[in-house]
Amino acid sequence: MEDIQRMNAIAEGDQNAFRDLYAQFSDRVYNTAISYLQKREDAEEVTQTVFTQIFRKANTYKGDSALATWIYRITVNTSLNYIKKKKRFSFLSLQDVGREREDFVHPGFLLENQEKGKLLFRCLDELPTKQKTAFILGFIEGLPRQEIADIMGQSLKATESLLQRAKGNLRKKLEKFYPERRKPKK
């Protein structure tokens, strides 16, 4: 079924079409959200919000971009808005949000890569928003450069440059952790 036909069916309340769409995209949405938020509960809430929006705004999809691009765009925006909202209300929280993020291990890492993965995500969290988005879409979601450019609404050249800067900044940030790793265990 064509993307636009699927979305028309969902706009008309076809739950089977929506269920199929969820089966196809839920992991991509959740994986993107958890990479931004670095907390399972928050990623679940964002995924819920994204699919609720998809259902409610299905009639606004006009097929100008691929359906996957449209869904990724909603996911990136919802995740960024969630982070903004959370920062605004963080003074009310009695928990140490920063500490929680430091301990985050993405569930997709191989067991032997978990320590390195933890440090990588800690550094990723400190990157400027655009670099973080490019890195998540490019290296964690594994999307082609052109698709990242379409999602972010910028040129291919600008996207490639962002990815380079993201990697460069991650290298610099990771340098700090190298001596820590070399310390002998007591």
Binding site: N31, N113, R171
Partner: protein
């Protein structure tokens, strides 16, 4: 040493190559359908529940305390009505009354 560090950094960044996607939790679709149907299922974080409970208890204690004080009738802190306009005119003697 330098090479070893660079190698370690590259390996750390390359860990994303072997990553698999995180899988959406089971049961999330049902929550979404409930949400769409109108009654959103939300998990309220523990700290928000605690904050809400603390605020409710504080309000209750203050209300009971003030109520008891008022009922005992020995309070000198009870608000009284005063014509503020009169006081102002008299204090500053702006007009002859």
């Amino acid at each position: 040493m330098e090479d070893e560090r660079e190698k370690w950094i590259s390996e750390t960044i390359d860990t994303t190559r072997d990553m698999s996607r995180a899988v959406a939790p089971i049961g999330l679709f049902d929550k979404i359908m409930v949400d769409i149907a109108g009654s959103r299922v939300m998990t309220i974080p523990k700290w928000q529940r605690n904050l809400g409970a603390a605020a409710a208890i504080l309000l209750l204690v203050l209300n009971v305390g003030i109520g008891m004080k008022y009922a005992s009738g020995d309070s000198k802190d009870v608000a009284q009505v005063e014509n503020e306009g009169d006081a102002f005119l008299s204090d500053y003697e702006l007009y002859d009354l």
